[in-house]
């Protein structure tokens, strides 16, 4: 993307059962949202390793989104509870070393929340745009 119109690049980890299905619903409902987030479907938010988030930032992501089923609705019963704890640590650590709070985001989006998914992406892009490119953790060669 060109320099003059900066568009943040987002890697979005979506759990297969809720958030990816919710994103599908946004599609079926033709709800328009920015094209900045590229989805990666994972079995469960609980399968998202903290390494994935650090890796995405290092490879030049301006923002990373992890989205799973609402608490209590996990297809795998407990995966999102584990994700919540692990990713809390990631969020705290990123802020601690001085990475902007809004670079990492987590959401619960159910299969019925197409509109919410679109809203989450839109808000994320709106929050990222004024920050400019993420250079802090980006590898020079990325």
């Amino acid at each position: 993307m060109s320099e003059q119109t900066y568009e943040p690049k987002i890697v979005a980890f979506l759990c297969k059962w809720c958030s990816s299905a919710g994103s599908d619903l946004a599609g079926v409902s033709r709800i328009q949202y920015p094209a900045n987030a590229t989805p990666i479907q994972v079995p469960c938010s609980g399968s998202v390793s903290p390494m994935y988030i650090l890796s995405a930032l290092k490879k030049g992501a301006d923002g990373v989104l992890v989205s799973g089923c609402h608490i209590g609705d996990c297809h795998y019963l407990e995966g999102n509870y584990l994700a919540r704890r692990k990713l809390h640590l990631v969020k705290e650590l990123l802020q601690f070393v001085g990475i902007e709070e809004n670079r990492f985001r987590m959401s619960w989006v159910s299969a019925a929340e197409g509109a919410k998914f679109a809203e989450v992406v839109k808000e994320f892009v709106d929050d990222l745009r004024p920050m400019g490119p993420q250079e802090k953790l980006k590898a020079k060669r990325a």
Binding site: K9, G27, V28, P39, C44, M51, A56, A61, Y76
Partner: protein, 651 residues
């Protein structure tokens, strides 16, 4: 590393994708990827010619893997994986890039959408490059089934399965099978006697060579998963040997302990040693340990002394029985909503205010009054009876929000039965509205009104109380005339709501299956999977799943039975092979994955994690928890995700 030969197939989906995404450009760009040997676009990839062209390309270009850039994998992943299998490559080397729902349909800008479609497709190509050929895991199944609950639902399910040749274990909490239906006098809409319907089926159960009947037993623990459950059952001692018991009743005659008879809902009494009712199956007496003076010849021992058959044995102990089954049908039934909770109608403390089941007993030839309707308080024939519908149902503010479904019909039945027993009596029914959907149901209600001259009053009863002259004064309103109505009735019958039985709540906990907001067992899908629970291999039948009448219960029981028969029709089940796998060289045996696994699918063997292929669902919680990347889900390995992240950031 071996050279991958991936084929990429970009679908236009008519104009659905092509209108926003430059599909030709996507196909051309993907052709540049190192692992891609072939790439094309086509107007409808999922059509017959589209699928055939994929097969041709696989053969012609010796492709070992396929990426289809099209709609959501929820729609056509299965289609294209089966198609890949037809071309002779593993279905698990086929991945879908969702460029419709997650791209073309949600963006307008053609350049942006095309770029995103390229990234999504590239990500799928990178993922597929790391995919392994996998075969579904065949799991041997235990071709036996268990039914929990011996009411009409459980009996029907057990008989259907047993008659199809399956071994069935039927577990019932009480000392006899039969359930609530045996408390009924007659059944709507035909007014045939409920015992006449059920008794032959009960006998069939007891004689069926394929059915193992465990009464006075409760399921305590369930482990395993679909195809292979291990169930631990606690069989309580009856202290009477069913084989030797001659049903002479001598023991009950001498037993000094009298307690309320639950079969007659407290309208009669029984002894500590008793038979629930004459037609009980198994046909035997049971010594109620709680009511007995103490199972000890020193304390009492009268029943043992008098038993000529020598059937009584005070040394019987609770027994834990383990059964291995491949599927479970839960048919644990309902309880009536407790009258004590209905404060406006006296909370169960007003004499001659009965619940529906008690009234059934009064009408029943085998009941406390031998089928003569008499008031419990003074054994006189009631001349005016008020029936109140929707007691506890359809009342979200105070009681149950749902409609209990059968009360309109059984109230009409009660009114008609009453009129048949007491032709000169007067029957009133208070109702909100009449729900009589069902074959011959509306006609049945009409006959109650016309032939049997039941007075239907549309309105609610606000309160009732006992009068000095031994009547029950019912104060209500007839909303059709707008007038207050006051009736001094001899008897009042409340059509109480149905609620999930205690056994249903217990079963949900033991089997770890979900319940809905009202506590009924949750079906896997409200329309398409109404008899499946959310857990594989566990099925639902009868009122445990929601209020329903006998024909519906029987239908659901037969449906559950047919589901079990289909499940257990083959010697093995197929389980998705995308499960966790361990790199022994990196595993330190820290057990973090064991703790994190929601399915107890991982254990340690010689200090290394071992995954149970059947229990693992492939959620990846272990993989994200492992600090050493020693465990990962097949075809979603960290390396693949690493490559996908790179692809997502490639433009």
């Amino acid at each position: 590393m071996s050279e991958k030969r991936t084929g990429v197939f970009v679908c236009h989906c008519g104009n659905n994708i092509a209108a926003t995404v430059d599909v030709k450009k996507v196909a051309e760009t993907m052709a540049q990827e190192g692992t891609v040997a072939f790439s094309k676009d086509y107007v409808y990839m999922c059509s017959d010619p589209g699928q055939s062209s994929v097969i041709e390309a696989i053969k012609e270009h010796r492709l070992d893997s396929v990426v289809v850039s099209c709609c959501s994998p929820n729609l056509h992943e299965g289609t294209f994986r089966e198609n890949a299998e037809r071309a002779g490559i593993s279905g698990f080397t086929c991945e879908i890039a969702n460029i419709r729902e997650q791209c073309a349909w949600v963006h307008k800008d053609r350049t942006e959408a095309t770029e995103k479609a390229i990234k999504i497709s590239r990500s799928a190509i990178r993922r597929v490059a790391g995919n392994k050929k996998l075969d579904p895991i065949a799991v041997p199944v235990t071709r036996r089934a268990m039914v929990i609950g011996g009411g009409i639902a459980g009996i029907q399910a057990a008989l259907d399965m047993a008659n199809a040749g399956l071994d069935v274990v039927l577990v019932e909490k009480l000392a006899t099978i039969g359930g609530h239906i045996l408390q009924l006098s007659e059944t709507f809409p035909t007014l045939d006697c409920s015992q006449c319907i059920l008794s032959p089926k009960m006998v069939e159960v007891s004689r069926h060579p394929k059915i193992k009947l465990l009464t006075y037993s409760e399921v305590k623990e369930v482990s395993g998963s679909v195809g292979n459950f291990e169930v631990k059952i606690l069989k309580k001692p009856t202290f009477v040997d069913a084989e030797t018991c001659k049903l002479c009743d001598d023991c009950a005659q001498v037993c000094p302990q009298v307690v309320s008879n639950e079969h007659d809902l407290g309208l009669t009494a029984r002894r500590a040693i008793h038979i629930p009712f004459a037609q009980a199956i198994p046909a035997s007496y049971t010594l109620d340990e709680e009511a007995c003076l103490g199972l000890n010849p020193i304390r009492c021992g009268k029943c043992k002394d008098v038993c000529e058959a020598g059937a009584i044995n005070y040394d019987m102990r609770p027994e834990t029985i383990t059964e291995n089954v491949g599927a479970i049908v839960v048919a644990t039934g309902f309880d009536l909503y407790p009258q004590e909770k209905i404060l406006e109608y006296g909370a169960g403390n007003v004499a001659d205010v009965l619940d529906g089941l008690q009234f059934e007993r009064l009408c029943s030839a085998s009941g406390p009054t031998q089928g003569h309707v008499k008031r419990p308080s003074d054994r006189t024939e009631p001349k005016e009876v008020v029936f109140i519908q929707c007691v506890g149902s359809r009342d979200p503010a105070q009681h149950c929000a749902y409609c209990s479904k059968i009360c309109c019909m059984y109230t009409a039945k009660h009114a008609r039965l009453y009129k048949h027993h007491v032709p000169d009596g007067k029957a009133y029914v208070f109702y909100i509205d009449i729900r009589s959907g069902g074959k011959n149901y509306e006609e049945f209600v009409q006959r109650a009104m016309e032939e049997d001259e039941t007075v239907y009053l549309r309105g609610r009863v606000s309160k009732l109380h006992r009068t000095k002259d031994g009547k029950v004064r019912v104060m209500g309103v007839d909303t059709l005339t707008g007038q207050n109505v006051e009736i001094d009735a001899d008897m009042v019958v409340l059509a109480l709501a149905m609620q999930p039985s205690q056994g249903t709540a217990d079963a949900a906990r033991t089997l770890k299956i979900g319940r809905d907001k009202d506590g009924f067992l949750a079906e896997a899908h409200p329309k398409l999977k109404p008899v499946e629970s959310v857990t594989g291999g566990i099925y639902l039948a009868g009122c445990a799943q929601g209020p329903k009448d006998i024909p519906e219960t029987v239908s659901q029981a037969s449906a559950a039975a047919s589901k079990v028969l289909a499940l257990l029709s083959k010697p093995t089940l197929s389980h998705a092979p995308t499960i966790a796998t361990v790199r022994n060289s990196h595993c330190t045996g820290c057990e973090m994955c064991v703790t994190a696994c929601p399915y107890d699918a991982i254990h340690l063997e010689n200090g290394k994690a071992v995954v149970n292929e059947v229990l693992c669902e492939g959620c990846g919680s272990c993989s994200a928890t492992c600090l050493r990347a020693a465990i990962s889900v097949r075809n979603t390995s960290p390396m693949q995700v690493h490559e996908m992240i790179e692809a997502c950031l490639s433009l």
